[in-house]
C-alpha cells in the first residue's frame, strides 16, 4: 500500500494533462471560429488602412492573400498545423511575422506576471495566516477592510490611482513603459494586490476551518502553541485546497496583464492582444489568446497535480 500514493498522484497528473490539452483544443477551435466569423472585417480594415478607400475587389484580393477564401475547417487545420511548426502567420497591421513579435513580447509579460504572482502569493498567504492566527481586531480589521477595498476597485482604476499618487503627487515612480525595476512596481502591484486580497480571504477561511479539526485540538492538547499548530499541522493540511487556489491566482495574474500592460504601456503580450483586438488583426490575436490560455491552463494543471499529490499522501481518494 505504501508508495501507491505516488501512482495515484501520477494518474491524477496524467488525467489533468489530458484535460488541459482538450481544453486548449476547444479554446483554439472557439477562437478560430469566432475570428473567422468576424474575419471579413479584418480584410476590410486592412484595405481601409492601406488604401484609404474600400473597394470590393481590393477586399477580395486581401482575403485571398490571407487565405480567408478557403473553407473554414481547412483554414482551421492549416492554422493548427502552422501552430505546431511555430508559424503563427503575419500581422496584417505591421506586416511582421507574428512569431517574432510574440517572442519579443513574451519576456516582459513573464517578468510582469511572475512579479505580480509573487506579490499575490506571498502577500495573500501572509495576510491570511496572520488573520487566521490572531483574535485581535487591531490586526484582523485592517486586513479584512484592506482586502475588501482592493476587491471593490477595478484594476485599471487602481492603476490610475497609483499613477496619481506615486507618479504625479510624490514623483516616486514612472508612469509608462519599461525602464528598470521602478517601472515594474506599479504594474506588478496592480496585478498582485487584488489577487493577494482573494488569496488572503481563502487562506484565512481554510486555516480557520483546519484549526477547528480534532487533530488540531489534539495537537494543542499536547501543549503546542497556536503558531506551531498553524505551521506544523494546519498549513500542510490546508495545502491541497490552497494549492488549487494559488494555481487560479497565478493563472489569473497572467490574464491580468491585459489590463496592467494597457494601463502602463508595458510592451508585453497583454498589450499586444488588446491592440490586435482593437484592430481586428486576427493572426496576432489568435496567437496571443492561445499563449495566455496555454499559460493559465498549465499553471492550473500543475497546481492541481501538486494538490492531488498532497491529498494522496493523506489517503484521500481523488
Amino acid at each position: 500500500m505504501r508508495g501507491s500514493w505516488v501512482a495515484a498522484a501520477g494518474r491524477a497528473a496524467g488525467r489533468r494533462a489530458g484535460e488541459g490539452v482538450a481544453v486548449l483544443l476547444v479554446v483554439s477551435l472557439l477562437t478560430f471560429g469566432l475570428l473567422s466569423v468576424a474575419a471579413g472585417d479584418a480584410a476590410t480594415a486592412i484595405v481601409l488602412a492601406r488604401d484609404g478607400v474600400v473597394s470590393a475587389e481590393a477586399v477580395a484580393r486581401v482575403r485571398a492573400e490571407l487565405g480567408l477564401d478557403l473553407p473554414a475547417p481547412v483554414r482551421y487545420l492549416h492554422a493548427l498545423e502552422g501552430l505546431f511548426r511555430g508559424e503563427l502567420g503575419a500581422s496584417a497591421r505591421t506586416g511582421q511575422d507574428v512569431a517574432g513579435e510574440v517572442a519579443a513580447r513574451l519576456g516582459p509579460t513573464v517578468t510582469l506576471a511572475t512579479t505580480g504572482a509573487v506579490v499575490a502569493v506571498v502577500g495573500g498567504l501572509t495576510a491570511g495566516a496572520v488573520a487566521a492566527l490572531t483574535r485581535r481586531r487591531v490586526v484582523r480589521l485592517p486586513i479584512q477592510l484592506g482586502s475588501l477595498a482592493l476587491l471593490s476597485v477595478p484594476a485599471f482604476a487602481l492603476a490610475q490611482l497609483g499613477v496619481l499618487l506615486f507618479a504625479l503627487q510624490w514623483r516616486l515612480l514612472p508612469t509608462q513603459g519599461i525602464a528598470g525595476w521602478p517601472s515594474l512596481v506599479l504594474p506588478a502591484a496592480v496585478i498582485g494586490l487584488p489577487l493577494a486580497a482573494v488569496l488572503a480571504q481563502v487562506t484565512e477561511a481554510r486555516l480557520r476551518s483546519t484549526l477547528r479539526e480534532p487533530f488540531a485540538t489534539t495537537a494543542r492538547a499536547r501543549g503546542l502553541s497556536p503558531a506551531r499548530v498553524l505551521l506544523a499541522t494546519a498549513l500542510p493540511n490546508a495545502a491541497a485546497p490552497l494549492l488549487v487556489v494559488i494555481g487560479d491566482v497565478v493563472g489569473t495574474a497572467l490574464a491580468a496583464t491585459l489590463v496592467a500592460e494597457t494601463a502602463f504601456g508595458w510592451p508585453g503580450l497583454g498589450d499586444y492582444l488588446v491592440r490586435a483586438l482593437q484592430f481586428r488583426d486576427w493572426y496576432p490575436l489568435q496567437a496571443a489568446v492561445l499563449i495566455i490560455a496555454v499559460g493559465t491552463v498549465s499553471v492550473r494543471g500543475l497546481a492541481g497535480s501538486l494538490a492531488a499529490l498532497v491529498d494522496a499522501r493523506a489517503g484521500v481518494r481523488t
Binding site: V153, A157, A221
Partner: protein, 818 residues
C-alpha cells in the same frame, strides 16, 4: 440580520434608487456639453461640478450607474437561470448530460473570465448587447457547477431516498426540497458574480471594448479623466468611488448572506475569562479539584449556561468517570480542565479548576501550554480525525516528549516506540513510519493513548474514547487506560455516556445532567442504589432489553429474497473488476417478523438495505415484497437511517413533512393512518405541539422518532432500519428501541441492520451474518449471538488490502486480555 448587513442593504437600496431616479431628479442631460463651463468646481447648479466638456458630473455619474446596473442585471438574468437549469439537469440526470455540462463549463472556467470577456466583446463588437452576451458566456458556468455539485451531494442523501420510497416524483423532490436548499449558496454566488460583473463592465470600457462614449459609463469616465489626472483628480476619483461603493456594498451583503446560510446565526464576541477567587490556604488533597465550574456559550440572543456549578475531584492514580447524556455538559467540563474551550462558540469558564494546586481557569495561554501535554493530556474522541492525516505516527506520538521532557528527536522516538509497544501495537517500526490512514480504528485509538502518555502526565482526560469503536475494541482501550493507571500511576478522568461500560473500569462516578452534578460516589454504590432518576435511566439503558416479540405464526411470507447479488461496475480505467457487494443472499420474512443483519463495515449491509426497499435493483436474483417485485415508491417498504438529521428536510417543519408523507401515501392508494400529523406524533411518543418545529430544533432522539413517524405515514408492511440507534446516547436509544418493538408488535415487519448486537437482539428473532457480501452464518438470533461470541471464524483479521477500513470492526466479540 446584523447591523452591518442592515446598513449595507439600506445604503445599496439608496444607491440603486438614486441611480434609477437620477435622470428624473436632475435638470441636466448627461450628454449636453457646455464649453463655457469646462471642469467647473461644485456649485449650486452643478452639485459635483462639470467634466472636461462641461457636462454635469452628478447626472453623468447617475446615468452611468444605470448603464452598468442594466447590463449587469441583464447578464445575471441570462446566466443564472441558464446555469441553474443546466446544473439541476446535470446533477440529477448524471451520465452523458452531466459529462457534457461539466466539460463545457470546464473550458469556460479554465480560461480566465477576463480573457473570455475581452475576446468575445471584441469579436461581437461593442454596445450593450454584445457586452451582455460576452459576460454571460463567462458567468453561467459557475452557477451550473455550484448547482450541479449541490444537487449531486444531495441526490443520494437519505432525505431523497426517504421521499422516493414515499412515492415522491423527481419534480417534487427537486422543486420542493432541493431547490430551496440550493437557493442560499446560489444567492451568495450571485452577489459575488454581480460584483465581478460591475468590475468587468468597466474594465471592458477601459479596454475600448464596452460602452462607447458619449454614453456615460463609470469605466469610460475614468478613462476620459486620464488626461486631466494631474490638474483635476476629481473627475477620476468620483466615478471610481461610485463604482467601488457599489461593488463594496454588494460584496459585504454577499459575505453576510454566506455567514447566514452556513452558520444560521452570527457569532457573538466572548468577554474575557472570569475566575472566581478560590478560597486561599485550603489544602488540596486531590490531584484535580474542580469547584463551582461554570461554562457559558454565546447563544443567538443570550448567553446559555451549559455547565452549572460542577464540583469534581480526581485523586492521584484514581479513575473517575464523568457520565451523562448528550448535552449534559460533560465534554465541556473536560475541555475546561484542559483550558481548551471552543472559542468559536464563545465559551467562557468561571469557577475554579485546580491541578495540584495550580489554578487553570483564567490562566494565561502561556501557562496553560506548559500544563497541557505535560501534566494533563487528552485522549480524544474521534479516532478518525484526531491524528494529523499528513504526518507520520512517530513524530505525533513523540511530540509531547520532545516538547515537555526536553528530549531530542532520537530519544523522543525511542520513548514513542516504547509506548507503542506498551500499548500493544504490532510491528511497531512500521507503525512509527505509517500515516494514520494506514491504521485501523482500534490501532489509532491505542496510538492516541500512547501519544497522550508521552509527556508523562499525571492526569489523562479521556473524552468518550470508545464511542467510535465496536464493543470488543472499546473494551481493549478501556483496559489500556486501566493499565496506564496501574503501571504509570496516571489518574484518568473518563468521560462517557455509557454507565455500564465505565462501571467496570472506574473507581468513582459523577453523573451530570443539564450541566449540574446530580449524583457522585463510588461506582458500586451509584450503580446499585442510584439516588437520582437520571442515574437510574442511564443504568437501565445500559442493560440489554428483553428478547424480541415472537412473530405471528402462519401466513404467506411478506419478503422473499432469492439468491440476491449486486455487482458494481468497475471504473473505466480500472484493470480488475470489483468484488461483488452482495452475493447469493436468500431469506424469507413473515408479516410482522424481525430479521437482523450484522457484519463489519463494507460487508454489504447498506447495499442490502437499498435492494430490499427497491431503491436499487439487484444485478442477480429477485426480491419479492408482498407478492410484487416492484417496491420503490409504492409505500410498502420504508427506510429508517442512521443519521436522522440527514433524512429530514431541515427547512420543513415536522408537521409539514408528515402531511407531505400522508399526501403521497394517499396518492399511492395506501390505507393511511387516521388523525393526521398529530396522531402520528403521538404514536411515536412525541408531543403534537412539536409539529411546528423544524428538525434542527429537535434532539437526535426526537428526530429519529419523526423519521419513524414519517415511515409509518405510508402504512408500510416493512421497515428497514439501517443502524437506527447508533447515533443516539444510551437513554434515548432505549426509548427508540422500545418504540420500534411496539411498531413490530402492531404487525410491521422489521429488518434491522446494525453492529449493535443488543439492538438486534431486542428487535429480531432471526439473524444473518454478512461477510464480504455473503451470508456466513444464520439462524435464530439468540443462538447465533451465543455461537459467535467466543472467537468466531470471521474474526477480525487485519486486511492488508483495505487499511483503515475496519474502524467499526466485526460485531463479533473478541477475548480481552487486560
Amino acid at each position: 440580520m446584523t447591523v452591518t448587513a442592515r446598513a449595507a442593504l439600506g445604503l445599496l437600496g439608496l444607491l440603486v434608487l438614486a441611480v434609477l431616479a437620477g435622470p428624473l431628479l436632475s435638470p441636466w442631460s448627461p450628454t449636453a456639453t457646455d464649453l463655457t463651463a469646462v471642469r467647473a468646481g461644485p456649485s449650486a447648479a452643478h452639485l459635483l461640478g462639470t467634466d472636461h466638456l462641461g457636462r454635469d458630473e452628478l447626472t453623468r455619474l447617475l446615468v452611468a450607474g444605470r448603464t452598468s446596473l442594466g447590463i449587469v442585471l441583464l447578464t445575471v438574468a441570462i446566466a443564472l437561470p441558464l446555469g441553474l437549469a443546466l446544473g439541476l439537469l446535470a446533477g440529477w440526470r448524471g451520465g452523458w448530460v452531466d459529462s457534457l455540462v461539466l466539460r463545457t463549463s470546464d473550458v469556460v472556467v479554465a480560461v480566465p473570465a477576463l480573457l473570455v470577456g475581452v475576446v468575445l466583446a471584441g469579436v461581437l463588437g461593442g454596445g450593450a448587447g454584445g457586452l451582455v452576451l460576452a459576460l454571460a458566456a463567462g458567468s453561467w458556468a459557475s452557477y451550473a457547477r455550484l448547482v450541479r455539485m449541490e444537487v449531486l451531494l444531495r441526490r443520494r442523501a437519505p432525505v431523497v431516498q426517504a421521499l422516493t420510497l414515499l412515492g415522491a416524483r423527481p419534480g417534487r423532490v427537486l422543486g420542493v426540497h432541493l431547490l430551496p436548499a440550493v437557493a442560499g449558496p446560489v444567492l451568495v454566488l450571485a452577489g459575488t458574480d454581480v460584483a465581478g460583473l460591475v468590475l468587468g463592465v468597466s474594465t471592458l470600457s477601459f479596454l475600448g471594448l464596452g460602452v462607447r462614449p458619449p454614453t456615460p459609463e463609470w469605466g469610460a469616465m475614468i478613462v476620459e479623466a486620464r488626461p486631466h489626472l494631474a490638474t483635476d483628480p476629481r473627475l477620476f476619483l468620483l466615478p471610481m468611488l461610485a463604482l467601488a461603493l457599489l461593488v463594496l456594498l454588494v460584496l459585504v451583503l454577499a459575505r453576510q448572506a454566506q455567514a447566514w446560510t452556513t452558520h444560521g446565526r452570527p457569532a457573538v464576541r466572548a468577554p474575557g475569562h472570569r475566575a472566581r477567587p478560590a478560597p486561599a490556604g485550603r489544602p488540596t488533597e486531590a490531584l484535580l479539584s474542580v469547584r463551582g465550574l461554570t461554562v457559558e456559550l454565546a447563544g443567538p440572543h443570550e448567553r446559555r449556561r451549559v455547565v452549572d456549578g460542577v464540583d469534581l475531584d480526581v485523586g492521584r492514580g484514581e479513575v473517575v468517570a464523568l457520565v451523562g447524556g448528550s448535552g449534559s455538559g460533560k465534554s465541556l467540563t473536560a475541555a475546561a480542565v484542559l483550558g481548551l474551550l471552543p472559542e468559536a462558540a464563545g465559551a467562557v469558564a468561571g469557577g475554579s479548576v485546580r491541578l495540584a494546586g495550580q489554578e487553570l481557569v483564567g490562566a494565561t495561554e502561556r501557562d496553560l501550554r506548559r500544563v497541557r501535554g505535560a501534566r494533563v493530556a487528552l485522549v480524544p474522541q474521534d479516532v478518525g480525525t484526531a491524528l494529523d492525516p499528513l504526518r507520520r505516527i512517530g513524530p505525533q506520538v513523540a511530540e509531547a516528549a520532545r516538547l515537555h521532557r526536553g528530549l531530542d528527536r532520537r530519544a523522543a522516538t525511542a520513548v514513542a516506540r516504547e509506548l507503542l509497544v506498551w500499548a500493544g501495537l504490532p510491528d511497531v517500526d512500521r507503525v512509527l513510519r505509517a500515516r494514520p490512514a494506514e491504521l485501523s480504528g482500534g490501532m489509532r485509538q491505542r496510538v492516541l493513548v500512547a501519544a497522550a502518555l508521552a509527556g508523562g502526565p499525571q492526569l489523562l482526560v479521556a473524552d468518550e474514547p470508545t464511542s467510535a469503536l465496536d464493543a470488543a475494541t472499546a473494551g481493549q482501550v478501556l483496559a489500556l487506560l486501566a493499565r496506564a493507571r496501574d503501571e504509570h500511576g496516571t489518574a484518568v478522568l473518563l468521560i462517557s455516556h455509557d454507565l455500564g461500560l465505565v462501571g467496570r473500569h472506574a473507581d468513582t462516578v459523577t453523573v451530570l445532567d443539564a450541566g449540574q452534578v446530580v449524583e457522585s460516589g463510588p461506582v458500586a454504590q451509584v450503580l446499585d442504589a442510584p439516588a437520582h432518576p437520571v442515574t437510574g435511566a442511564l443504568r437501565d439503558a445500559a442493560v440489554e432489553p428483553a428478547a424480541a416479540p415472537a412473530p405471528p405464526p402462519g401466513g404467506a411470507p411478506l419478503l422473499l429474497a432469492r439468491d440476491v447479488g449486486v455487482r458494481y461496475p468497475a471504473g473505466r480505467w480500472s484493470r480488475s473488476a470489483l468484488p461483488p457487494a452482495l452475493t447469493g443472499v436468500s431469506f424469507t420474512l413473515p408479516r410482522g417478523g424481525g430479521l437482523g443483519v450484522v457484519g463489519e463495515s463494507g460487508s454489504g449491509k447498506t447495499t442490502l438495505a437499498r435492494v430490499l426497499t427497491g431503491l436499487q435493483c439487484p444485478t442477480a436474483g429477485t426480491v419479492e415484497l408482498a407478492g410484487s417485485t416492484r417496491a420503490a415508491g409504492t409505500g410498502h417498504a420504508q427506510l429508517v437511517f442512521q443519521d436522522p438529521a440527514s433524512a429530514l428536510d431541515l427547512r420543513q417543519p415536522v408537521g409539514a413533512a408528515l402531511r407531505e408523507a400522508l399526501l403521497l401515501a394517499r396518492r399511492r392508494g395506501r390505507p393511511v393512518p387516521l388523525g393526521g400529523p398529530p396522531a402520528l406524533l403521538t404514536r411515536v411518543g412525541l408531543d403534537p405541539e412539536l409539529a411546528g418545529r423544524r428538525p434542527w430544533q429537535l434532539s437526535g432522539g426526537q428526530q429519529q422518532r419523526v423519521v419513524i413517524a414519517r415511515a409509518l405515514a405510508a402504512a408500510p408492511d416493512l421497515i428497514v432500519l439501517d443502524e437506527p440507534v447508533s447515533s443516539l446516547d444510551a437513554v434515548v436509544r432505549a426509548g427508540v428501541l422500545e418504540l420500534l418493538r411496539s411498531v413490530r408488535a402492531e404487525g410491521v415487519a422489521l429488518v434491522v441492520i446494525s453492529h449493535d448486537l443488543a439492538a438486534v437482539a431486542a428487535l429480531t428473532d432471526e439473524l444473518l451474518v454478512l461477510h464480504h457480501g455473503a451470508v456466513v452464518d444464520r439462524g435464530a438470533t439468540p443462538a447465533v449471538l451465543a455461537r459467535r461470541r467466543p472467537g468466531p471464524p470471521g474474526r477480525p483479521t487485519p486486511d492488508p488490502a483495505r487499511p483503515g477500513r475496519d474502524v467499526a470492526a466485526p460485531p463479533l466479540v473478541e477475548e480481552i486480555h487486560p
